[in-house]
């Protein structure tokens, strides 16, 4: 059978998942390099573009992986992702902010960054527990609405003037309200600058060498720093991936998958299912907090707008495209979402307007369609290009519906790992026992039809 040959091929290549992810990333890079060349960007700008794509992919991948633990493996529909990220990021920012930040900043506790990050994760986990403890026994759709409401409560809280500045046990601190709170200095900068918070004071030795090398290629200093931080982020993606793969392959993970498939069965086998669900929910929230810190916390300013509920839906779309229940799928979904849905349309519209050479776009929709009367589509096209931000969301919606209608399991969802540790459908008794449960073919089709 062809499937056996494909399996042989996979075994020979080795880690096919890595090949898949790299393949998708290379395709994305090729696409955006082509965009850059066609737009006439220099080498430096193209590197900067690719860096942004990689950064966003890695950031989404972190959150998608955390969500996959909750939804893909335990079946907990959490649509308050942005809220839990906000809890992590704001806690970190408040803990690490300098007690004396100057006139515009928000004072904090001035603790080391590591303490801030751990504190942020802990806070996110605790808030996760606060929501999960009562809500976990509710129906899946109720849990969804409760988590969404929770996310909104958090956003309202950090946006409000009440918490803009408060004093805790004599300490002056706060969230900064709608103006936001400053993020900590990125530790990556210490590699390049003698004073990380002020680049003007000089470079370190390594900084000098690397900046000169990249500068010769036309890549500017900030891009080099961002590039380095993106590498750190990629390291965390690998860390998340390994951690989650280990969790879901453990006996604990098997129980989770059993709960996802049929909670009653898991319960009647003597598993304390709500405890498993609460622990999973809290772990996922802690990882979302960490992901949020690595992503939004790396910006110089943290504002409530960064945690719009839409962000949660983006993460969901990335996970759904990749296929929930598959970690590799989640990473690929993140790359596809960022490349094709998030940044792709923007570049495509720039490209079209560059080459078409339209006169200025009409300001309003009626003006744009007025041309249609005389069969002139140019105003409408120009207007569409200028409103690409809105059209991008329409595209996201269309893709979401198409995926749900045509392939609800996502690109790699057919590899959703089955709840059983040993494959009951395996015919070949000499099969490789160490083979990962995610690498199976026909068995999953059976599990899938059971679960849908």
């Amino acid at each position: 059978m062809t499937r056996n040959r494909a399996d042989d091929l996979r075994a020979r290549i080795g880690d096919t998942d890595l090949v898949l992810v790299l393949g998708v990333m290379i395709a994305m890079y090729a696409m955006f390099t082509a965009f850059g060349l066609l737009l006439g960007l220099g080498f430096g700008s193209i590197v900067s573009t690719l860096q942004q794509i990689t950064f966003l992919t890695a950031a989404y991948a972190l959150i998608v992986l955390a969500l996959n633990l909750q939804w893909g493996y335990a079946g907990l529909l959490n649509i308050g992702v942005a809220g839990f990220m906000a809890v992590g990021v704001y806690t970190m920012a408040i803990l690490t902010a300098s007690p004396d930040p100057g006139p515009t900043g928000v004072p904090g506790f001035g603790l080391p960054l590591l303490v801030g990050i751990l504190g942020g994760m802990l806070a996110a986990a605790l808030f996760g527990g606060l929501v999960a403890l009562p809500a976990i026994r509710l129906r899946a759709d109720y849990l969804a609405i409760v988590t969404l409401a929770f996310g909104e409560i958090i956003r309202i809280a950090v946006n409000s003037q009440t918490f803009q500045s408060v004093s805790v046990l004599g300490f002056e601190t706060g969230t900064g309200g709608s103006r936001g709170i400053q993020g900590p200095t990125n530790p990556v900068r210490a590699l390049y600058y003698t004073d990380p918070s002020n680049p003007a004071l000089g470079r370190t030795e390594i900084g000098g060498v690397i900046f000169d090398a990249f500068g010769a290629l036309g890549v500017e200093e900030p891009v080099v720093v961002d590039l380095t931080y993106t590498l750190v982020l990629l390291g965390f993606v690998v860390l998340f991936y390994v951690l989650l793969t280990r969790i879901v392959k453990s006996p604990f993970g098997r129980v989770l998958k059993a709960i996802r498939e049929d909670e009653l069965v898991a319960k009647s086998l003597g598993k304390h299912t709500s405890r498993f669900k609460i622990i999973t929910f809290m772990t996922g929230c802690a990882l979302m907090g960490l992901g949020g810190i690595l992503w939004q916390g790396s910006q110089s300013l943290v504002t409530p707008d960064q945690f719009d509920p839409l962000l949660t839906f983006y993460v969901f779309i990335a996970l759904i495209i990749g296929g929930s229940g598959s970690n590799t799928g989640g990473v690929i979904g993140a790359a596809l979402f960022v490349g094709l849905l998030f940044q792709g349309p923007v570049f495509a519209s720039r490209l079209v307007s560059n080459f078409a050479g339209f006169e200025s776009a009409p300001n309003t929709f009626p003006d744009a369609v007025a041309g249609l009367g005389s069969l002139d589509v140019q105003p409408l096209v120009a207007y569409s290009l200028s409103e690409i931000q809105s059209l991008r969301f329409v595209l996201v919606g269309v893709v979401l519906i198409l995926v749900m209608a045509k392939r609800p399991q996502g690109v790699l969802g057919h590899r959703k790992s089955p709840a059983v540790g040993v494959d009951p459908y395996r015919r070949d008794p000499d099969g490789d026992e160490t083979e990962s449960p995610t690498d199976r073919g026909n068995a999953n089709e059976a599990t899938e039809s059971d679960s849908s």
């Binding site: 609405i145 409401a149 946006n159 009440t162 759904i320 309003t364 929709f365 009626p366 996201v396």
Partner: protein, 367 residues
């Protein structure tokens, strides 16, 4: 996990009434504090009445918008996240017609189409209000209802119908896709700014004895909502269609087996839900006087809160839940700053889910 076991243990010891007891004590404390404030005059009676009036108006808006959501939730068995954008859609459709009727001749048709989001034809300039332009308002309301019905049927035919047998989560996520398409199509055409719809809502009436003022637009909203609720009540309780709908909400398989034409009932459900939703959208615009591409989306969570509060599937529950949410989020101003009123409404929903996971109208479906 220790907390979980502790809580579980506490529940068994105190019976299943642990949360009820807690909520009861909390309510008693709040009520006592409210009385104390009234007696010590830190809260004026007038203010309290004002909060309650604002709460009832907001509550009826949420309740009316919630009817459509409750109907589709109970009969199609999924929470429609596009519901908020159906509201926005109805509002835009209706108000464009109102503007065209009210301002034809004195304004450019293109500007009227943009209903003041861009261009010269702003609400004050066109002078739309119930008293000044009654024909435009009534026509607009009818168009909002008709347009939303047609659009919901179209969306059902193209998107939801082929997925009828899918699970609740699949449909939920699909509806998020529908929501994004609708919301940003509206943003594409009308932009992302907020527009002022109405010229004014005068004359105002003063309620005798209380001194709270009620505007014409608020009265219109209350009257329309009551008429619509009565109509839907008649439809569901007194007609054969209503019986079929209640049967489907209760047990879809049994309903199909007894020969109820389920697809036709679904169609009727969308028609009723779409009509109520379109009307709600238009009336929200009339009462608040403002409209933006995300008006419905921001209302959606409150509507969900109301529907869940009442117990999914009951239209009376939805209206009652709407009133609770509306009054809570306004009376909460007695204790908390105005930033947090929405948060208070969500908190009430979460608390109700803890005490009565099936809602206040537990076990009643579309009846």
């Amino acid at each position: 996990m220790n907390i979980a076991t502790l809580l579980a243990g506490g529940r068994t010891r105190l019976g299943s009434h642990f949360f009820e007891l807690l909520v009861g004590v909390g309510l008693a404390v709040l009520l006592f504090d409210l009385l104390r404030r009234l007696v010590t005059d830190t809260l004026r009676v007038f203010d309290l009445f004002l909060f309650v009036k604002e709460g009832i108006v907001l509550g009826l808006v949420i309740g009316l918008a919630g009817i459509g959501l409750a109907l589709t939730y109970s009969i199609l068995h999924f929470p429609n996240f596009a519901h908020g954008d159906y509201i926005t859609m109805g509002a835009f459709a209706g108000w464009v017609v109102s503007y065209v009727i009210a301002g034809l001749g004195s304004f450019d048709l293109r500007d009227l189409f943009l209903i003041g989001v861009r261009g010269d034809a702003g609400g004050v300039a066109v002078g739309t209000s119930v008293v000044q332009t009654p024909v435009a308002i009534v026509t607009g309301l009818l168009v909002a209802i008709a347009f939303t019905i047609l659009a919901t049927i179209l969306i059902d035919r193209v998107i939801y119908r082929p997925m009828r047998d899918e699970g609740v989560i699949t449909l939920l996520i699909t509806s998020v896709g529908v929501a994004l398409i609708l919301r940003y199509s509206i943003a594409f055409v009308w932009g992302q700014e907020t527009t002022t719809l109405t010229a004014n809502s005068r004359p105002q009436f003063t309620a005798p004895g209380i001194g709270v003022q009620v505007s014409t637009h608020e009265l219109t909203l209350v009257a329309c909502t009551l008429v619509l609720i009565a109509g839907i009540h008649y439809l569901i309780q007194q007609t054969k269609l209503g019986t079929a709908m209640r049967a489907m909400a209760d047990n879809p398989d049994l309903a199909a087996i007894t020969g109820i034409p389920t697809e036709r009932v679904v169609l009727a459900t969308w028609i009723i839900a779409g009509g109520a939703t379109g009307a709600a959208g238009y009336l929200v615009g009339l009462e608040t006087g403002i409209l933006a591409f995300n008006t419905g989306w921001t209302l959606l969570l409150l509507i969900f809160a109301a529907v869940i509060l009442g117990g999914v599937g009951s239209i009376y529950g939805a209206i009652f839940g709407g009133l609770v949410i509306g009054i809570v989020s306004n009376v909460a101003l007695v204790w908390i700053p105005s930033d947090f009123t929405t948060a208070a409404a969500f908190l009430v929903m979460i608390v109700v889910l803890l005490v009565k996971p099936k809602g206040l109208f537990e076990g009643v479906t579309t009846a």
